[in-house]
Structure formats: structure tokens, C-alpha cells
Symmetry: C2
Subunit: 454 residues, 2 copies
């Protein structure tokens, strides 16, 4: 929904509220999808929020609540009575309730847990044990479980009886008495099965792909794309079912990870807040330290230049091609480094592929370097009217710098991955800084050799 | 699945095939998920493929086929008889069949269409009309449609009768006789409803969010993340239901678009082929033209330097800080440009926000610039032992270049979006090139003014 639509709705709700037309207010809110209503809520003055929130039907209220950013949730909770808070918590899916507990300040958490029913509290505490970036940290325990010896009829009865508070019933998981996961059966299969006496273990898919609670949440999410799942079961180390990750969480994780990688690849500390929700200080903190670090690192290039001042003084025209050479090196490095980082991120490349990668990168870089050098040589002679030996120096440097940049650009992210650093931080800006110094050293040494400088 | 697992399976299948143990071969293949089996198929010699393919049960064969890359599909089709091909085409979902027709060479397309049943052929031709990057181009027409006046019992009967060949029945779409979309009802709701005589129009959700056939496929996919849908209905201009887009396609589109943006942001032509499926020529073609374009553009910086050769000759130490200044400008520009590009891509920012964006960027840039200049000033005096006036020149340039770079970096992608160019091409490398020239001009002019050069 666009900003103007949100504004219109906000005004509409404020008018209805002022005129105390509560029935109409309720009717209007019921026509809105939860994420849109949440966007309107975010913009409301804090004192209006509880009034409107109380008018929402219970399930819609829970959905809206789950969509709100943490600071709005916290403000809203303060305006709710204990009884109202209890209703919201019980209506939330348990993974959303756990996220809430993770985000709220300690005082609010205490109030939330004291209002939760004992079994909800237990499920929340169970989920809180897992690291946030693991499958355990994003799973829900509200799943539909069936036994292998059930018939289709019994299974459908069980679903009708227990399905209402499950996060999804589109896939049901088949477990033995000790909760060992033995199969999966979709609601579709159950509904379309003509023989209602057929047993679940006869019908279920036994090739279940599952993850453990410790699996990285990004790796878990990639399985959704690869296999086209709607949910993935999460098991403990003894293959006992403890939860499921659903595709709506997976899609958010994949999008967040891509945004994070893009931030890191451009020398920023990643954040999951949208642009206009970050204040100036957030933006400053994510940018300034990296700029500072890279500025200090690029002092090496100043040192190189100062070390070769004599050569530059002898052939001043050499200075004119420094930006072109360092830029080209940086661009060439960014190309290979971002290709490899994304390949690692989507699971298409593995650190073990390093030799195959370097062999390809070297040949591509050589082709690119030769093309650039050829074009540049003609331009230097015909347009810039530079002496041929100097043109040779510039063009030889161009070839070497493209090859070195693309090899370094490919090797650094793989090396980072191998030693457990996020490859994305090895991206363009860092590569550019490293490549600059290398390029300058190559440039001045070739110049000395070709032009016979001291 | 890892490369070594694929290798092991490939060997296993080859052995079973050589020993003509077809029953075991079939049993082994049936235990594998389709995407894994497809990965094994890709590596098989072309003459083995049809043999193994024939042993797969029909539905698994169709799934495996849909997962294969186009060149393997084409090779496999050549090894199949017309009758076998017909079975595969009819078992494919119609959106996968359409993708196949779009990717195959003309001769193969003719064979495919001649083997398809008349109604399949009609659906394929229907889908071929829509541009590949629109919702129409990625939707399927195999959806479950219900009438508003049906009871739950009638609806379940309809699903049992017609649901088997639908891509999904988890959501059913409610249409009037003229196919106008009036609501959506989930299979979950139908299954959990206790009163089987309740009418669909009483139970359905009438706030249906739909897209039109012309909606961009990326915009369509973003709705899945925002609203947590499993499928989105696609309507024509008169709100008549023509198809659905399912979440498995949406997740691939979002991942592909993120990869494409990362490629463009790093000066490469995007491709949807995995790294090792691209040959040297593909890699070269995606990289060399951009490197060449950026190299030529960075000639402007050479021109600037040559224009100020007198100033540089008078104060040679100025040269030493050129790479540090241009790098910092480039890095600062990349930060804001990538933030804005990603914000536009995930729908968090809109071109209309430009003034708010520039106002924030200016303040953040000023803070960053002042921080960098302060640190650098101390370093120049204490470590580099540079004369104070030159240090002032360098630091003033730093402030101006960070501010200009971040403003340009924010403005260019928004401007690109407004005139209909992909904002991602405005990213780091292009910004770097533009910023270089600006930085140098600022540097030399400040130097002239402060140092009273001619």
C-alpha cells in the first residue's frame, strides 16, 4: 500500500474515532489486510492505538500485532490491560510470541510471560533456547502431527479436532510414539485420497528432508527454493520432530540476507530496519566506521606514491592515469568478488571449488585485460598523443592489474568463507583498497623498467 | 546435496544400469527428491539419460524434467519417442511446459506442441502471450475454482474431483459465472469448517489481493513477502480470474532479482546461469563491455589531472592523496547508492521520497565527512608531517567529496527509477567514476584557493 493510501486511512480512522463511530471503525478495519492495517497503526499517536486495537476482532488483532515494529509493540503493550495482553499473547503464533519476548525490554517481557498460559510460556521458553540465526530460532512448535498407523479418516478427524491453532496444516508430519519423524503427508494428498481406510504409512512420503535445530537459518531457507517446500521439519540430534520452519519465514530470511549482503558488500554494517525507520545516528554508525577504516587502509597507496615521487617528477604524465588504472582494478575486482560472494550465498559455489574458480577467473581476466589494453593503447596514441613507451607502460599495467584484481577478488571471499568470516565483507570497497596499492606498485615498477628511470 | 553425493549416486546408477538391475535402479531413484535426481541427470552422458528417465514413475519423471537446465532438457527430448514425450508434457504443470517452449529451439518446440493434447496446447499458447517478466508470464492456469453459491460439501466434492491436476489446492478461488474474482477460501478453512452446509460466499475472504497479468513479476513476488501468501490470483483488466502465481515461483524470482541487482551493482550484465554453467565467453561478455565503458569514462579524471599539471608540479605531495580521496568518495557514494537501490528494490522507498532522502543523506554525509576529516587531519600532521595548509586542503576536500558523493549516490538511482532505467546500473562503479572527476575538480580548486596557486 502506498504512503498516501496509509495517510488517507489514518485520517479516516481518526475521524471515525473522534466521532465515536465505533461500529463503522470496526467494519472498516475488518476490510483491511493485517500488514496494511499494521502500517496505519505505526503512524497513529500512541494514545489512539489501544482504542483502535480493542475494536479489532481477536485474530486480526494478533496478526496486526505480529506485523508491528518492536517500538510500536512496546508502546501498545503499555496501553493494554493485563487481560487484553493475555488475549493477544494466546492469539499469537508461538514463534511470533517468542520473537516478541526476544525484542522487548526486560520489564515488558516479565509482564508478557506472567500473562501467558503455562503451556504457552513453556513453548516460548523452549524456543528461546535456540540461537536466533538457527532453524531452532525461527521454527514454530505449532505443527500438525499424525501417527503412521492412522487411517485417512482418522487423520482427517485429528486435523479437524486439533488443526485450528496450528501455523499450517498444509503439510502434516508423521511421527512414531517417541516423536521420531518417519514421513510427511500433505493435506492435499489426504483430501484427494479416495479410500478413507488407507493407512497413513502407506500414503506418506518417507523421503523427508529435514534440518536440525542447529542448522543455519539461511541454509534452511535455501532448501525452500531448491525443493519447493511450504514447510521444513526441524528435528533434534536423534531425529525427533521438534518444530517446523514455514515458507513465510524463509522468504523474509532470504530477503534479509540478500539486503545484508548488499550492505556489507558496500561497506556498511547491516541492519534489518527499513531506511526511514533508522535515525541519523543509526545511519552514521553503520557508515562512518567503515569509511574510516577504508580511508586509513588507502593510506598505503599514498605511501606508495610518495615512495615513487622521483619517477612521477621525471614523467609527470604518469600521474594522469593513476585514477583510471586504480578504478579499472577496483571495478575488475568487484566483478569477480561479487560473483563469488553471491555464488557462495546461494549455495552454488563451495570453498572446495577454489582451484576451478581461479583457473576460470584467470582466463577471463586475461581476455578482459587484453581487450582493455588494446582499446586503451589506441586511445592513448590517437587521442591523448602520448609517447608510445608511456602508452606501453599504462597498457601493461592495465593487463596485470585486471588479472591480479580478478584473482584476488575471487580468492578473498573463498578464503573468508573457509576461516568462518562472512565473505560479503571482502567485497568491492575492501578489494578496491587492496587493489589500489597493488596497481600503483605494478605501475611504477613497470614504468621504471620500461622507461629506464632510476 | 553436495557434489560428492551427486558423484556417488551417479556411479551407483551407472553400475546398476550396466548390470541391467532395472528394478533396483527404479527403487533407488524413487527414494530421491526430484531436484537431487535432476542434479544427477545433468551429469549423465546423453545416451544414458533416456534409459534412466524411462524407469522413473511418470510424476517423478515430470518433476525431474522441470528441474533440468534447458540444454539437458533438449538433449533428453531428442532421446525420447513421440509417445514418451507426450506423457512428459501432459505430466508437466502448464507453466513449466510454457517455460520449456520458451527455452527450446524452434524444431523442438514444434515437436512438443504437436505432441501436446489440444487443451494443453491451448493453455501453453495462452500463457506464451504474456511478457516473461510479467505476472502473466509466470502464472499457471491450473488453479482450483469454486462458485460462491456452493456449500462446503459441494466444494470439497469439486476439489476431490478436479483437484488432482491443479498446481495447488491450498487456496481455492471463488468466481462468478463470468469468472469475476469475488473471494478466496483456503483448503484449511474448508477442512476445519464444522457445518458442511455453510455456503462458500459466507466463508470466503472477500478482501482478495490480486495482480493483473501486466504486473511486474518482481512487484508480484514482493506481495508474497509482505502478506505471507502461498499464491496470488492474477486477473485481467476486468477483474476476471485468469491464473495464479505460486510461492515457489515467487521465491525463485526474488532470489534471481537479488542476484541480478548484485551483478548490475558491480558492473556486470546479469545472467540467470549458475557460475560453472557459464562458459568463458559468457563471463567475458558480461564483464568486458562494462569495464571498457567505465575505463573510457574515467578518462575524464585523467583530463582533469592533466589540466592541473601546473598545480601538481608546484606541490607534488598533492598527488599522494589522490587515491585516498577518490576511494573515499567512491566508498561513500556506494554506501548511499546501494542503500537506495535496495530500498527501491524491496519496495521500501519510492521515487516520491527523494526530498526526504536527500535531506537525510546530506546530514549523515556531513557527519561522516567531518569525522573522516578530523581523523585525517591529525594523521596528516602527526604521522605524515605534512604542512598544515596542505592538510587543510585534503580535509576540506574530504568533507565536500563525502557530501557530494552521498547526495549523488542517493539521487542517481531515484532518477533512474523515475525515467524507467533499472536503478541498479547506477551503482558503485558508475558512481565511483562520476565521483572521481568531481573529487579531483574540488581538490584542485580548493588547493588553488588555499595555497594561492596560479
Amino acid at each position: 500500500m502506498s504512503d498516501t493510501a496509509i495517510q488517507t486511512l489514518k485520517n479516516m480512522l481518526a475521524h471515525l474515532d473522534d466521532a465515536k463511530k465505533y461500529q463503522s471503525l470496526r467494519d472498516v478495519m475488518e476490510t483491511l489486510p493485517a500488514p496494511d492495517l499494521a502500517a496505519v497503526f505505526e503512524d497513529l499517536p500512541p494514545e489512539k492505538m489501544p482504542v483502535l486495537f480493542r475494536l479489532c476482532p481477536k485474530d486480526l488483532a494478533a496478526e496486526v500485532f505480529a506485523e508491528l515494529p518492536p517500538d510500536t509493540q512496546s508502546a501498545l503493550i503499555q496501553g493494554l490491560t493485563d487481560k487484553e495482553l493475555k488475549v493477544v499473547i494466546e492469539a499469537l503464533f508461538v514463534d511470533d510470541a517468542t520473537d516478541l519476548v526476544e525484542e522487548m525490554p526486560a520489564g515488558v517481557v516479565k509482564r508478557i510471560l506472567s500473562q501467558a498460559e503455562p503451556d504457552t510460556r513453556q513453548m516460548i521458553n523452549e524456543l528461546l533456547k535456540y540461537p536466533e540465526d538457527s532453524a531452532g530460532g525461527v521454527m514454530t512448535t505449532e505443527l500438525m502431527e499424525l501417527s503412521p498407523e492412522m487411517t485417512v479418516r482418522q487423520a482427517m478427524d485429528a486435523i479437524r479436532q486439533n488443526g485450528f491453532d496450528k501455523e499450517t496444516i498444509n503439510n502434516c508430519y508423521v511421527t512414531r510414539k517417541d516423536r521420531t519423524l518417519v514421513g510427511v503427508v500433505s493435506l492435499r494428498t489426504l483430501v484427494l485420497e479416495k479410500n478413507e481406510d488407507r493407512r497413513i504409512d502407506d500414503l506418506m512420503d518417507t523421503n523427508v528432508i529435514s534440518v536440525t535445530t542447529a542448522t543455519d537459518r539461511e541454509d534452511t531457507s535455501q532448501l525452500f527454493e531448491k525443493y519447493g517446500f511450504l514447510a521444513i521439519p526441524v528435528v533434534d540430534t536423534e531425529n525427533r520432530l521438534v518444530g517446523i520452519v514455514t515458507i513465510d519465514d524463509a522468504i523474509s530470511i532470504l530477503q534479509d540476507e540478500a539486503s545484508e549482503d548488499i550492505a556489507k558488500m558496500n561497506a556498511m554494517a547491516p541492519t534489518d530496519k527499513p531506511y526511514f525507520r533508522r535515525n541519523l545516528w543509526d545511519l552514521y554508525r553503520s557508515r562512518a566506521p567503515w569509511l574510516l577504516f577504508l580511508m586509513v587502509s588507502s593510506s598505503f597507496s599514498s605511501m606508495v606514491i610518495r615512495g615513487y615521487e622521483d619517477a612521477l617528477a621525471a614523467v609527470t604524465v604518469l600521474t594522469a592515469y593513476i585514477p583510471m588504472l586504480t578504478d579499472t582494478g577496483g571495478n575488475a575486482g568487484s566483478q569477480s568478488t561479487s560473483t563469488i560472494i553471491r555464488g557462495l550465498a546461494v549455495g552454488e559455489l563451495k570453498p572446495g571449488d577454489i582451484l576451478r574458480i581461479l583457473w576460470r577467473e584467470m582466463r577471463v581476466a586475461l581476455l578482459c585485460g587484453l581487450t582493455l589494453a588494446g582499446c586503451n593503447f589506441l586511445k592513448l596514441l590517437a587521442i591523448d598523443h602520448i609517447a608510445a613507451p608511456i602508452a606501453v607502460v599504462v597498457c601493461l599495467t592495465l593487463i596485470v592489474t585486471v588479472v591480479v584484481s580478478q584473482l584476488l577478488g575471487a580468492a578473498l571471499p573463498v578464503a573468508a568463507e573457509k576461516i568462518g568470516i562472512d565473505p560479503a565483507v571482502m567485497a568491492s570497497p575492501l578489494i578496491t583498497t587492496i587493489v589500489d596499492t597493488t596497481t600503483l606498485l605494478v605501475y611504477f615498477n613497470i614504468a621504471r623498467a620500461v622507461l629506464h628511470l632510476a
